[in-house]
Symmetry: C2
Subunit: 538 residues, 2 copies
């Protein structure tokens, strides 16, 4: 057996690791001494290994990895209800479902997520064999699946966990492991028809989930390009300017403009032009979507831009389709600029504005969670001002081609629900309403009023299980009746069967309705039928 | 932009990597030059990195990581049906559900899986921060969850993926990423009652899934200990002898005995004693479980062994409970010796014997899959002789204590379904019966008989969606009627609505029952009601 480190020795090692970590961070920021960084990292890994090897079982901290969490039965009940609503909507629109591995060949992922995404990808250790990384989203694996299986049209949904080695902010529902619910339509189809259906689904789901007021911002990639081009932004800066504009939902124009000038090097003249376009709707609040697009068309520089014309025509078709589908929550928003590289057409993002009460409850819960886990709120503010984006997506026509290498592209369009935020809202709503959450589906609890009736309870359970009735009983030989009733009430099980010796002799068993506390004897001979009837009433 | 390697240069690098890999393997086997191994590994990683960095997007191989696979819509339909059956059984027995992160702190996992399991664990790269590994099963995360949240009783199920960096053998359904479906009962309860319910669930699920003949082998950890002790196996060798005995379901006694003598160093005298016990039922085939246990008790050495007495008494209680629950598939099997360290009481394993036709279909499918993926069958035989174990579990009373470090243990008992094998059997059964698999839930397909009716189709879809009817239509502006009918038939959608100009003028739409090809006009005013009625008939 290896020698065990003393607590002091451990402390010394741990302090050394912390110091090294800080030094490495500073060096990395300076970007001047890559070799020194390497050396210090190697040293740190060695110390960490030493610490790890020396740890006695049962002595280490028991916790979930940073940025992840367990779901207990109550959270799972909320999660399953939210998933149920979303899946029903996907199925209502004829979607199939697929699943892909949680990790992919590293090359497959890194070729698509770009530098920004690449930094946030979890890599698996090289243990001999292929180099693997955990998926960052479900879209790139979907494109890989289409290319690999030469599928050129499919309407599919995929609900699974994705991984981002991001700075977690629990108060904003930002985790390192979280679920995505994706719906995508791949295929060469009538323009704007798949987009309209994606938005119809977002509208359906958010209405059914009843998460508060919401609206869907809609923009077009080529309209963004046109606005930047016309404003005089150099083409190679479109992407970085986009990521500044994307902050407009959280920050005022002045701050974004400062960033554009100070960090991105735009001139005041260019940002002023840009402002006129991206904040167009702030000036023209009385216009509807089509009118706004028409009004922008009156601007000479935009009217004569082929991109702008194309984007505008497509959005007009889309808004017409949306009105046929009864979607009133969508709204043209020229400031929407989603970050990901792969979008080529319409883009959209749904924003929820939960009630003040719900917001407060989320903030309180998150603050408590952070406190419990010993994590400070990263952004130094603790309370979220809003929940923000709960669904987003758009058209990406070139992604599959990037994998298949073929001439023909597989045009795709989809939407992804940010499910952790929807869970957070639902949980807070239920908490506000003080609705007790059912975590089991049990219909009947089999109890006994006297001792020595274990076998009788078992026989009753067997009859009910074999007839498909959801049944449980206490696992003790002689449980107290009061305990059994309390257990049954706590789990909100609607019916209780109480076995007693007198009743057994008479060939009956006592049925108790938990809510009304009403009781009646039912004959054992017709047990299952009586229970079925009682369940309809209970 | 970095210079791109020529194909020849890549080839040279790749060959070098292969050569290094072989050298490392040899060196590792020799165990003589750890430093040289380190050096060569570092060199190999460097080359691999070079290869990775130099790869052009779209040029690399598009595949799933070794030992993993995608699930397409058809496989998902089978998977969801199997999950549905299992979840319904778990819920019928009053279980709640939980979820935990896919990776855990490395220390948490490695402290419990032991050396054997540790080798098969996927580690995440140290990217600064905690050292993480992917979970190997759902039991250790469950124990961690209980200890961390100080939960002393719960009945929960957990369905999720687990990861083993094992040599994959697709023909035997052995993957590196696969689902486990676990049901566990934690709590201090009446002896054998939780075990009996776990076995009841196995019996229910395998009956409902209709996967062919099956039986459940049952043994007891302390009975195994007693048999080894009485035979003269030294205590420190119990574990390694167990893992040899565990092979008896695949190999004849002679081979196992040879291993015990040649590799484990037992004497012929000891193995002969052992044989008498573990193969006891081969000699006494006419006895039932209780009789077998009684018969073994007649052996002086066993009768006077406290472990054997305790184990036998518990198993007798269990078999009595099982008969009350109507479980006839369980069978005492003294040769069952499950590998994992953490079992402390009753252990069990369910074995399925699918029909010859189903076995053949699985073997053919697996052989084809291996061929497609370019992988040779590892075991050099290709065809599986049987599907083997599909569910297994037992009692593990000390695992949670190992985490909580408390004096009081949280006794647990559970069962895990080996779901990939159940999928394989169901898929093969459906293939044999030639049952077409439905991958969508769509109820109505909205079609048009003439051109220029896109908007009319959209309006009909909207009405149906808004009423909760699962509906789809073609995404083309002017699809051909024949294409629409074929699409509808291929997806096995029961009803079709056909919009035509004449019908619209008359305020009706044509309803077609796909199966019978019967058609009738239904009024638009009562569209949804008519569809609901038609669905009942279709």
């Amino acid at each position: 057996m290896p020698e065990v480190l003393s607590a002091e020795a451990r402390k010394v090692l741990q302090d050394e690791v912390t110091t090294l970590g800080n030094e490495i961070r500073v060096l990395k920021e300076q970007k001047t001494s890559p070799d020194l960084v390497k050396e210090k990292v190697a040293k740190m890994l060695e110390l960490k290994k030493k610490l790890g090897e020396e740890q006695k079982p049962g002595k280490f901290v028991i916790k979930c990895p940073k940025g992840t969490r367990d779901y207990g039965p109550k959270e799972m009940a909320v999660r399953e209800a939210v998933f149920g609503t979303i899946i029903e909507s996907f199925k209502r629109h004829g979607a199939e479902t697929i699943d892909t591995p949680v990790f992919e060949l590293r090359d497959v992922l890194l070729s698509k997520y770009g530098e920004e995404g690449g930094k946030l990808v979890y890599n698996l250790e090289d243990q001999g064999g292929e180099l693997l990384s955990m998926r960052y989203d479900l879209t790139v694996p979907f494109a890989r699946y289409l290319a690999m299986n030469k599928i050129s049209n499919i309407k599919r949904y995929h609900i699974a966990k994705v991984y981002r080695r991001d700075q977690p902010v629990m108060t904003r529902g930002r985790y390192r492991e979280f679920y995505q619910c994706d719906f995508d339509i791949a295929g060469e189809y009538e323009k704007m028809l798949p987009e309209a259906e994606c938005l119809k689904i977002v509208d359906e789901v958010l209405n059914k989930l009843d998460v508060g007021n919401f609206y869907i911002k809609v923009n077009h990639r080529v309209i963004l390009d046109a606005m930047m081009s016309v404003s005089g932004v150099p083409k190679q800066q479109f992407k970085t300017v986009c990521s500044s504009i994307d902050k407009l939902d959280k920050e005022p124009w002045e701050k974004v403009e400062k960033e554009l000038i100070d960090e991105k090097g735009l001139t005041k003249e260019v940002t002023q032009q840009l402002r006129r376009f991206v904040l167009f709707r702030e000036e023209a609040t009385d216009l509807d979507d089509i009118q706004t697009l028409d009004k922008m068309m009156e601007i000479e520089a935009l009217r004569t831009n082929a991109d702008f014309k194309k984007g505008t025509e497509e959005l007009k078709v889309l808004f017409n389709f949306l009105s046929l589908y009864g979607v009133t929550s969508a709204r043209f928003e020229p400031s929407l600029a989603r970050g990901l590289d792969y979008y080529t057409g319409v883009i959209y993002e749904a924003v929820v504005e939960p009630s003040e009460e719900v917001r407060k409850t989320i903030a309180e819960g998150a603050a408590k969670e952070n406190q419990d886990s010993g994590e400070a709120s990263i952004e130094g503010q603790g309370l979220p001002t809003g929940v923000g984006s709960v669904a987003a997506g758009g058209r990406y026509d070139e992604l599959v081609k990037g994998f298949s290498g073929k001439k023909d592209s597989v045009p795709c369009c989809g939407v992804s629900f940010g499910i952790e935020r929807l869970f957070a809202i639902r949980e807070a709503q239920l908490k506000c309403k003080d609705v007790p959450m059912r975590t089991v589906a049990t219909e009947v609890y089999v109890a006994s009023a006297q001792k020595n009736l274990l076998e009788e309870r078992m026989k009753l359970c067997r009859s009910l299980w074999d007839s498909g009735v959801r049944t449980e009983m206490a696992y003790k030989r002689n449980p107290k009746l009061l305990d059994q009733i309390q257990n049954c009430e706590a789990k909100q099980i609607p019916l209780m069967l109480i076995v007693g010796e007198r009743e057994l002799q008479e060939g009956v068993v006592k049925l108790r309705y938990i809510k009304t506390r009403e009781e009646q004897d039912i004959p054992l001979a017709t047990l299952v039928e009586s229970i079925r009837e009682a369940l309809l009433k209970a």
